[in-house]
């Protein structure tokens, strides 16, 4: 266990994929800056990769005072074994008070390992962060199928770790010329048993629901796979993505990659159009935080209407094409 009194500083894990810093990194830098200022402490970014030293300037411009950069072939792409050992070693050496990462597949794969290895607590998938006067991180995360916001604390152990959902915080504007201290740390990846043989970037599985500004989703009321064409047509008008409820996925009408909800993806687009989705609590947990929600359903009592900004009671097979047409001719 790391001695609490010896800890200071806010760290964010700057995830890169294929050499590109992920968007959530900049959201973390903005929030991390705010937390570090409250604590009168430094904000550091941790970057692992190979040949990415140039990217550090971007991290400084977005608020980092320090960048810890480890450069090694074993760190070029995410490897849970290598990343766990490297990050745990850095944490034990430099003792940050707070350690944040994006709620990505990589971070959700290796942050729990780091937490156990350095003996501390981790709050997963947070949507809000604050720090109190005593330096205790208040990590807010949805619980009970998104019905409740739970504030999680880790009072005794350090660092206080949290993974944070994309789009939970706003990215800040870069300050050109802003610089900081670059600490090039030696690679310490330990025994790596996971061997990555091939990375397949698979377009057919790429339903970028997380990044979509507009999602048009279909549910049980769609009635079959062919009718998803109506949904696709409407989504295309917005250059948006197609989502689905669990009922539509379970019925085999559309692949699980499109599923929004508790056992699918959590999304927060600017506009979510729910077509023939009744609004089971598990679905609402995945999309209830969308900025603007339009629901189309023939059942006036469907729970989806409780959270909709515009609820249209009627036949989706008439309304969805009419909407597509109205957008085309605008």
């Amino acid at each position: 266990m790391i001695d609490k009194a010896s800890c200071s500083g806010v760290w964010i894990f700057a995830e890169q994929r294929n050499g590109a810093l992920q968007g959530v990194t900049f959201e973390l830098l903005a929030k991390g800056r705010e937390l570090a200022d409250k604590r009168g402490a430094k904000l550091a970014a941790v970057l692992f990769g190979q040949g990415l030293k140039d990217q550090c300037a971007d991290l400084f411009a977005h608020g980092a005072d320090v960048v810890y950069y480890a450069d090694a072939p074993a760190l070029a792409t995410f490897n849970s074994d290598a990343y766990t050992t490297q990050l745990a070693a850095l944490v034990q050496q430099y003792k940050p008070e707070i350690l944040l990462g994006g709620s990505t597949i990589a971070v959700r794969s290796f942050f729990p390992r780091v937490a156990v290895r350095v003996d501390t607590g981790l709050a997963s998938d947070c949507v809000g962060l604050d720090v109190d006067a005593a330096g205790v991180l208040q990590a807010v995360r949805p619980a009970y199928a998104g019905n409740v916001l739970a504030t999680i604390v880790c009072p005794e152990h350090r660092p206080q770790m949290a993974s944070v959902r994309a789009a939970a915080f706003k990215k800040g504007a870069p300050t050109s010329g802003r610089t900081g201290e670059l600490v090039e740390v030696p690679a310490a990846v330990g025994e790596v048993r996971i061997q990555i043989l091939e990375t397949v970037r698979d377009a057919s599985n790429q339903v970028s629901l997380a990044d979509a500004d507009v999602i048009v989703a279909g549910g049980r009321g769609i009635g079959g796979p062919a009718q998803f064409g109506f949904i696709q047509d409407l989504a295309a008008e917005f250059k948006g993505a197609v989502g689905a409820s669990r009922a539509a996925v379970d019925a085999g009408w559309i692949s699980a990659f499109h599923q929004v909800g508790q056992t699918g993806k959590t999304v927060k687009p600017k506009l979510y159009i729910a077509c023939g989705i009744s609004g089971a609590i598990q679905h609402l947990a995945g999309m209830g935080a969308s900025d603007f929600i339009i629901a189309i359903n023939k059942d006036a009592a469907a729970p989806i209407f409780d959270i909709a900004d515009i609820g249209i009671v009627g036949d989706l097979f008439a309304i969805v094409p009419a909407l597509t047409q109205a957008l085309k001719s605008r």
């Binding site: 729990p112 199928a145 504030t151 880790c154 996971i194 599985n205 189309i296 959270i307 515009i310 249209i312």
Partner: protein, 261 residues
């Protein structure tokens, strides 16, 4: 080969109310079932048993009621099940649950592979699989969508945001799986009948050699400080969709007003 599958019993749907006066939380679940992702972990273990031969042991940390979930796994073809249950475990977080499961796996001995669902339906932390791997000192690959075994090496496909990776990993290892990996089987009638007779005496903290203060609420690294209801939207409007064109026009006007089109 000995495969352990870790499961959790969860409510099938969750309705939660917070009393505004007392802040008390009432949680009503309609019925209890196996966490959906854990069903896929079980199926992956049973598929390996069918193809390569394996003993499959299912573990759960939970209340006495969780025995029902274990019986279901026995009915589907698991060889053994352990209900790890002790009042001392109340209030344990992901860290403590990982430690309890890792201790039970060490006590079983000779385990080659541990499979978990990628996250639970209720807690949703996705921490227990990777966490217990760390207590065991094993590697962990999370979010796996395909498992094949070649000798003592796992050949895996792991999902990530832009596709998937092919990974080789020698046993022993911990994997967490998503629903993409398979379609869970149903319990056979014969299996169900046999499972009814299974003895599922709770394995206690003492039986695992865990001191009560080392586990449960006092030991938890994270604590729940506060609960609040999610602010729900108000001021939504309802439109009669009998005239589809009129409804569409209204929506487009609103979207234009909001600069969404």
């Amino acid at each position: 080969m000995h495969i352990v599958v870790c499961i959790k019993q969860v409510p099938s749907s969750i309705a939660v109310k917070i009393d505004p006066a007392t802040q008390a939380l009432t949680c009503t679940g309609s019925e209890f079932l196996i966490n959906p992702f854990d069903e896929h972990a079980l199926e992956a273990a049973l598929a390996l048993k069918d193809s390569a031969g394996a003993k499959v042991t299912v573990l759960t940390v939970g209340s006495a009621q969780a025995a029902d979930a274990l019986r279901e796994t026995l009915g589907r073809g698991a060889d053994a099940a352990q209900l790890i249950s002790d009042p001392a475990f109340a209030g344990c977080d992901a860290w403590a649950t990982s430690k309890i499961l890792a201790t039970a796996i060490q006590q079983l001995g000779g385990v080659d592979l541990v499979l978990c669902g990628k996250q639970t339906f209720d807690g949703d932390t996705a921490q227990v699989g990777p966490g217990l791997a760390e207590f065991l000192g094993w590697s962990c690959v999370a979010f796996v969508r395909k498992i094949t075994l070649e000798g003592a090496t796992l050949q895996l496909e792991r999902m990530f945001e832009e596709g998937y990776e092919k990974i080789a990993l020698p046993l022993p290892a911990v994997l967490t799986v998503g629903k993409e990996i398979n379609t869970p089987r149903m319990a056979s009638l014969k299996g169900r009948m046999a499972a009814k007779k299974a003895q599922l005496a709770p394995v206690t903290a003492a039986a695992l050699g865990l001191a009560p203060e080392a586990i449960g609420a006092q030991s938890a690294r994270t604590r729940l400080a506060k609960m609040a209801p999610v602010p729900r939207k108000t001021g939504g409007i309802k439109v009669d969709g009998a005239d589809a064109a009129a409804a569409a026009k209204l929506v487009v006007e609103k979207l234009r007003e909001m600069k969404l089109v």
